[in-house]
Amino acid sequence: MDQPAEEFRQALLAMDRVAALAVLGGALRPDDPFTSLEEVVVPALESIGDEWENGPVSLAQLYMAGRIAEEAVRQVAPETGPYTGSRIGIAVLEDHHALGKRLVLSALRAAGYGVQDYGHGLSVSRLAQRVHEDRPDVLLVSTLMLPSALSVRRLVAELELPGSRPTVIVGGAPFRMDPGLWHEVGADATGRNSAEAVALVQQFTGGAS
């Protein structure tokens, strides 16, 4: 990892907003703000996501890192609006626990993506309706409980009906505990953490944000 990204990572893990802002401000290239910020933010969040996977970093640190990164990007580069090349939506299916969605939302915004937040506690039919109205290219679906994860199968079926559905990326505890579940329910991919979700969005939207 390059030095600014490493310094940014350390500031995020220390929950040091001032240091995070300073690192990001120093890395900003006015002629290409998003690329320069992405080179710092994405590797730092990827590293923190990996460290959560492997143990040393906690969910609380992951959450605060995403929040601070998102705030820092907004402060350093408020004029460089979100990337609009692809439409991205996110929701929590059938549950009111929205932390997972929040983690991914922060990471995506910090990486420069504009994301439509459809909220939490949505039924399959309500979320399908929102997707039909909004027509995102990528839909990220967070679940907490196994029954909600299994409901993704019905969601995918409803999204197929009009003939063109978004790429569906799923995440949450059931998919982490059962690595084959995303495939079973008909999703296109699963991310084990917010950094993986960003990488998948990059992959499905054709690369850079």
Binding site: M15, G55, S58, A98, M145, L146, D178
Partner: protein, 348 residues
């Protein structure tokens, strides 16, 4: 069966870090009782008598070593006045958080156990299990004061509170601790043998060991000694290896451990100090064949059973409704086949 210990004796022996006749098995089934009685999940949990009957039938059917008086995770916040959303294919979940405005913590008062119909149903179930059960431990359940706020405020708002408002966090812990102690002791008075203290937020999956030392640990140190019976601390799929010494220091008898952790390493750290409960993957269990169930049971027994101090269970404390009875029967059968002491079939 001739030569078999009663479940309570089996469990007490392993808690004493000795080898009983075989590895105790806790099938922590809740909603399966509704299936057993031919009821919907909401209807089943509306009556303590239903839950007692369900637990009695499940224990007879699978031959495991406890009765589990856990209804569903948001039961406590329901008693505090929060919305609970039922569904017909899984456990009810908490709706919108109780405390959308965190400033309300300053005047927050807990429910009185004796006045709560929700908590009363659990006490009814425990009393019926005590009266009708056959010498198996009855496991009561509380949410730890440190983990309950995930359902009181929502996870995100709770993490913000911990880091941003230590004054409100301290006040919330004080209120929750009083409630937790009263609720645990009411279950013990009704006939529960032990209390399972669910504390996933203390796991290193959620907070760092340093944060735990400043938050969940002192809460447990204040709360657990006031519970007038044995306790088990369960991390509900969260990891605990890096805080195991501190967990042992709280005086709890059992740690409920994660499928994501190395059970043999945990056993090496726990041996003679704390009993391990776990760590079968309840989510993956849904699609296990009988052979897979047997292999998983054998692996867990080989890793943690020698010497006692081990109870086989799922890793979350609530087996999903979608896990078929055939898998549960295969697990129980595998324990009877491979869990008999001495465990002399392992390489180690």
């Amino acid at each position: 069966m001739i030569g078999e210990s009663a479940p309570l004796e089996r469990v007490l022996t392993t808690l004493g870090h000795s080898e009983p006749d075989r590895v105790p098995l806790f099938l922590l089934v809740t909603m399966h009782g509704a299936k057993e009685l031919g009821l919907g999940i909401e209807e089943y949990f509306a009556s303590g008598a239903n839950v007692a009957e369900g637990q009695l039938r499940l224990q007879r059917r699978f031959g495991h070593d406890c009765y589990y008086a856990f209804f569903y995770a948001p039961l406590e916040v329901e008693a505090w006045g929060a919305e609970v959303v039922f569904r017909d294919d899984g456990p009810p979940t908490s709706g919108e958080p109780l405390l959308l405005d965190r400033e309300r913590i300053t005047s927050l008062q807990p429910p009185r156990v004796a006045e709560s119909p929700q908590l009363g149903r659990v006490l009814t179930a425990i009393a019926a299990l005590k009266e009708r059960g056959e010498n198996a431990p009855i496991i009561g359940v509380v949410m730890s004061p440190f983990s309950l706020p995930v359902m009181q405020l929502g996870f995100e708002a709770y993490l913000d509170l911990i880091f941003e408002r230590p004054d409100l966090f301290a006040r919330l812990m004080a209120v929750n601790e009083e409630f937790c102690v009263e609720w645990a002791n009411a279950q013990l008075a009704a006939g529960a043998t032990a209390i399972c203290y669910f504390d996933p937020v203390s796991s290193t999956t959620v907070v760092t060991p340093e944060q735990y030392a400043q938050t969940g640990l002192p809460v447990a140190q204040r709360t657990l000694p006031r519970i007038q019976g044995p306790t088990a601390t369960h991390f509900a799929s969260g990891q605990c290896a890096r805080i195991l010494d501190e967990v042992v220091g709280t005086g709890t008898a059992v740690a409920g451990v994660s499928a994501a952790e190395d059970l043999a390493q945990l056993k090496a750290a726990a041996r003679g100090r704390i009993t391990l409960l776990g760590n079968l993957n309840g989510i993956a269990m849904r699609t296990w064949s009988a052979a897979e169930a047997e292999a998983q049971v054998k692996a867990a027994i080989a890793a943690a059973a020698p010497g006692g101090g081990f109870i086989l269970a799922d890793n979350h404390g609530e087996i999903p409704f979608q896990v078929p009875d055939e898998v549960l029967l295969a697990i129980a059968e595998a324990v009877r086949t491979w869990g008999r002491y001495p465990i002399d079939w392992t390489d180690g």
